[in-house]
């Protein structure tokens, strides 16, 4: 692997990352690495109660402490300072979310006061000198319990805990269920998860001298959207704010929205005229950063006796937490849009009831509705196969959308672009030596061991969420600057996008610089989330490069005194077709573009594209898992996991594999270990890494990766996203394997995570039932 290879063949090559030399030597620059002269630090005093009235706050002692510059409560701030939340569902309730609590708190961790001081330690010291008197109110943490009559209200000003109800439907569900020869009914709850990006959230806001503007370094997935939200939340003009996303230490969806601490920091920076930094502690992160999943799904799948799926009803209770972030309503929508999965189910009715509780807000976390949806349909399909005595491969193949049916509009009215689900399943079976796994399982079962094989097949929608921008500028010396609106937080954009630009421009990668993450440098953009960057940022870049090439071709034709149609691209520039020695370099073309051009030709060599393909890209895949459960202890072991992903054309296989590995690790965390737990009263029980278990190195099983390639027919590069594939496919494959292992005990379904105590308890109960 080398960056010095010939320019052609870059797309599809495992090029080492250009980002890495800085990051492996400690020269990365994350928000907390920046220190500015005169910088203040802020710390928040947060509510220990999930739901309470604030009776009084006394800040006098804190204000008197040395090094303390300001102490503010909600009453000290204008009520116009608030987190902007778009109303994405008609009629949805939007609870007030002042940047500091006013009168009441609705989740533990809600900020009640802020201290600005000369050091982080002094600010934290002073928060503990603030006296707050609360009156505790009844609280609710579980979404389904919050829907029961008489449940405590998460927000006392609303008449129920329902934020909104929304339905997607297609076909005639009632008729399908009337005609059903078998109906599978299940209740499946996805655990609430913590994104746990290793870099906690953080912001540094610095007023420009003379009070003209504000520069904000922010750990964010989308600097332009953050800037607009900050302008709105702060009441400060967008064009006077510069947001810089420096190196970002992971995000996984959780750094999408503009959180209230950022508005407070920016407000204080303007008010005090000094730079203000806030860096979340890990404990704060557990109480304030969007969490994921926590959708409880009640489903019915209607089938013919031969396994043909004819109808699907799903009701989702989606736990939104107490306060809405700008993207809190996203994951339930996503869940609905892919409810039928890979299958032809013409009659669907999917309803989401979005519920307020006194917990941390939820929002996109790697998968963002996809894993919930895939888990639901894949568990239903396995149960249907078991009920009807049909092989689980056969029932899937029988109902798959077939390759010739694409583009295919599903039963919930969403169009999939392309796919070959049978092929990826076959490849996963081949790589896993599936028949041999089944033979091993059956032998183990005869010995009384609990061994199961599980499969999952899934779609992975990517792209979407509006547009993405890409600008390509050929500089005067012929080197190329790419400005992408798709800012990176670890994915390797600077490498992958350089591969695309260099290949299409026929230059070496070191001639291309990818710039992102700075609203002053980069045209309006959207950001990185939802597996969208290769599709959206890559698409914008590809189109911009094509336009550059077309303009440059005309300039080259002028320089070479040939007709534009006789000019072809050559390594490093252009040549006259059939006369390779008659050529010009990019430097010569750029020299002309910024120098002398014939009449009628506009100077410059820069193109900006706002790319919107108006459709999503639907990747897909199949996973096979082999799980063994120790009968005595309940301890599960994932002995093998085979993953086949199809993300269309691959730009950099090494990066794709890295995305799959990471997604799988998070999926296995969900399957075996991770769950954010709240007591019935809303108290967080797993508020730190002491008791919230993320996977460690030794938790990873042997992985076997495979691929099929079905190019995206609607994309200039043929690509689809892959960032969430691993966490979509792995949990249901594991769930199906665990249930397969426990099938001999008559156990029907257990919700993730599959911890040893939970499995031990289920095994013990099943065995005692059998004995009696």
């Amino acid at each position: 692997m080398t960056t010095q290879r010939a320019p052609s063949g870059l797309i599809g090559a495992s090029i080492r990352r250009v980002e890495d030399p800085l990051l492996v030597t400690g020269k990365g620059c994350y928000v907390d690495d920046i220190q500015l002269p005169g910088m203040l630090h802020i710390a928040f005093l947060r509510s220990p109660y999930p739901h309470a009235k604030i009776i009084s706050i006394d800040t006098a002692a804190a204000k008197a402490m040395p090094g303390v510059v300001a102490v503010l409560t909600g009453d000290d701030l204008s009520e116009h300072l608030k987190v902007p939340v778009p109303s994405i569902v008609r009629g949805m309730k939007i609870p007030p979310q002042p940047v500091l609590a006013r009168g009441a708190v609705h989740a533990a961790g809600a900020p009640v006061a802020v201290v600005a001081a000369e050091s982080r330690a002094l600010a934290e010291d002073a928060t503990s000198a603030i006296e707050v008197e609360y009156e505790s109110l009844p609280a609710v943490a579980d979404a389904e319990k919050a829907l029961e009559p008489g449940a405590p209200l998460a927000h006392e000003e609303f008449d129920s805990n329902v934020c909104y109800t929304v339905t997607k439907k297609g076909g005639d569900v009632d008729q399908a269920f009337a005609a059903a020869e078998h109906v599978v009914r299940m209740h499946i709850a996805s655990p609430r998860l913590v994104a746990m990006a290793l870099e906690p959230r953080g912001v540094l806001a610095s007023p420009e001298p003379m009070g003209q503007g504000l520069t904000v370094w922010l750990s964010t997935q989308g600097p332009h959207r953050a800037r607009a939200d900050l302008a709105t939340g702060l009441g400060f003009p967008e064009h006077k704010i510069r947001v810089i996303a420096p190196d970002i230490g992971g995000a996984f969806g959780s750094k999408g929205p503009l959180y209230r601490e950022y508005i407070v920091a920016a407000h204080l920076a303007l008010k005090l005229g000094r730079p203000v930094k806030w860096i979340s502690t890990r404990s704060e992160d557990f109480l304030t950063t969007n969490q994921g999943r926590d959708q409880a799904m009640t489903s019915e799948l209607a089938l013919k006796r031969d396994g043909t799926m004819i109808g699907l009803k799903v009701r989702v209770a989606a736990n939104l937490g107490a306060y809405l972030q700008s993207n809190t309503a996203g994951p339930p929508q996503r869940m609905m849009a892919m409810a039928p999965g890979c299958y032809q189910i013409r009659n669907c009715h999917v309803e989401v009831v979005a519920v307020f509780t006194n917990t941390v807000s939820t929002g996109p976390y790697r998968g963002a509705g996809r894993p919930e949806s895939v888990l639901n349909i894949e568990r239903l399909v396995d149960k249907a196969a078991a009920d009807l005595g049909i092989d689980r491969l056969e029932i899937r193949r029988k109902n798959f959308i077939r390759p010739e049916q694409f583009p295919y509009k599903t039963g919930v009215g969403v169009e999939y672009d392309s796919g070959d689900y049978g092929r990826s399943l076959d490849e996963a079976l081949r790589l896993s030596n599936y028949d041999e796994l089944i033979r091993q399982r059956d032998q183990a079962r005869k010995r009384g061991e609990l061994v199961g094989v599980g499969i999952s097949t899934f779609v992975e929608p990517s792209g979407g969420a509006g547009f993405e921008s890409g600008a390509v500028r050929v500089e005067r010396t012929g080197v190329i600057t790419v400005l992408t609106g798709s800012s990176s937080h670890g994915q390797g954009h600077e490498t992958a996008f350089a591969q695309v630009a260099a290949e299409k421009l026929r230059v070496s990668m070191d001639q291309v610089a990818i710039r992102h993450g700075d609203t002053l440098a980069v045209q309006q953009g959207v950001g990185t989330f939802g597996s969208r960057s290769a599709v959206m940022g890559g698409g914008a870049l590809a189109v911009a490069v094509d336009r550059i090439v077309e303009k440059a071709r005309r300039i080259a034709a002028h320089l070479l005194e040939a007709a534009p149609e006789d000019i072809v691209q050559a390594d490093g520039g252009f040549a006259v077709t059939g006369v390779p020695e008659k050529k010009v370099t990019w430097r010569q073309v750029a020299g002309a573009a910024y120098g002398r051009l014939p009449k009628g030709m506009e100077p410059g060599l820069q193109e900006t594209v706002f790319f919107d393909p108006k459709r999503e890209a639907w990747g897909f895949g199949a996973h096979v898992a082999l799980v063994r459960i120790d009968r005595e202890t309940g301890s599960p072991t994932l002995e093998k996991l085979v993953l086949v992903d199809d993300c269309g054309v691959i730009i950099n296989p090494m990066l794709v594999e890295g995305q799959v590995h990471g997604g799988v690790a998070q999926g296995l965390g969900e399957a075996f270990r991770e769950q954010m737990l709240y007591g019935d009263d809303g108290e967080a029980l797993t508020g730190s890494l002491m008791n919230y278990a993320v996977p460690r190195a030794s938790d990873m099983p042997p992985l076997v990766l495979g691929e099929t390639v079905t190019p995206n027919p609607f994309h200039p590069l043929g690509v689809k996203g892959v960032g969430e594939a691993g966490c979509n496919g792995a949990p249901p494959a594991v769930a199906n394997a665990v249930m397969d292992a426990l099938a001999p005990l008559g156990i029907d379904h257990i919700d993730m995570p599959y911890t040893a105590p939970k499995l031990w308890e289920a095994i013990r109960q099943a065995e005692s039932k059998k004995r009696s």
Binding site: L23, V24, G26, Y30, L198, G490, H661, G662, L689
Partner: protein, 164 residues
């Protein structure tokens, strides 16, 4: 709050710094904020994540779990001190070669733990590598390529040893 200040002498990456610290100053903040060595990161507040791992007298330690005053007189190596004469340490090279990092936040701590492992055990098995990295959390890579990176580095370091 304690207003006491203590003078310490700590050698970091070969340079001895005499500095005045508060008794409560953690080594990681001394490195990051007083010396400006921001390659050592803070990822948690319960000594779980390992992003702050440095070498103290040759041993990998979590610098969020040690007060700066406890490091008085000690020799510290941080990620910034690992590359010699602009040549990457084989473990740093291995992380790049094998795509052992994505966002890069855990990487310095991960590399410092791996270097310590390879100093003690030049031929670790996969299980030994995973065990040695038990105190370092990575949320991006799923650890697969981190293990590969450490193996790559181990081979490379053994090879260098033989060629000398």
């Amino acid at each position: 709050m304690n207003d006491e200040r203590i003078t310490v002498g700590i050698t970091v990456n070969g340079v001895t710094h005499r500095a005045v610290v508060e008794p409560r100053t953690l080594l990681v903040y001394f490195l990051r904020e007083q010396l400006g060595l921001t390659g050592t990161h803070v990822g948690c507040d319960t000594s779980q994540c390992g992003a702050c791992t440095v070498h103290l007298n040759g041993r990998a330690v979590k610098s969020c779990t040690i007060f700066a005053v406890q490091a008085d007189g000690a020799e510290i190596t941080t990620i910034e001190g690992l590359a010699r004469d602009s040549a990457l340490h084989p473990v740093q090279e291995g992380f790049r070669e094998k795509h052992g990092l994505q966002c890069g936040y855990c990487t310095p701590g991960m590399i410092m733990s791996a270097v310590h492992l390879l100093q003690a055990n030049p031929r670790p098995t996969d299980a030994e590598i995973k065990h040695a990295l038990e105190g370092n959390i990575c949320r991006c890579t799923g650890y697969v390529n981190i293990v590969e990176a450490v193996k790559w580095a181990a081979e490379r370091m053994r090879g260098d040893h033989v060629s000398r």
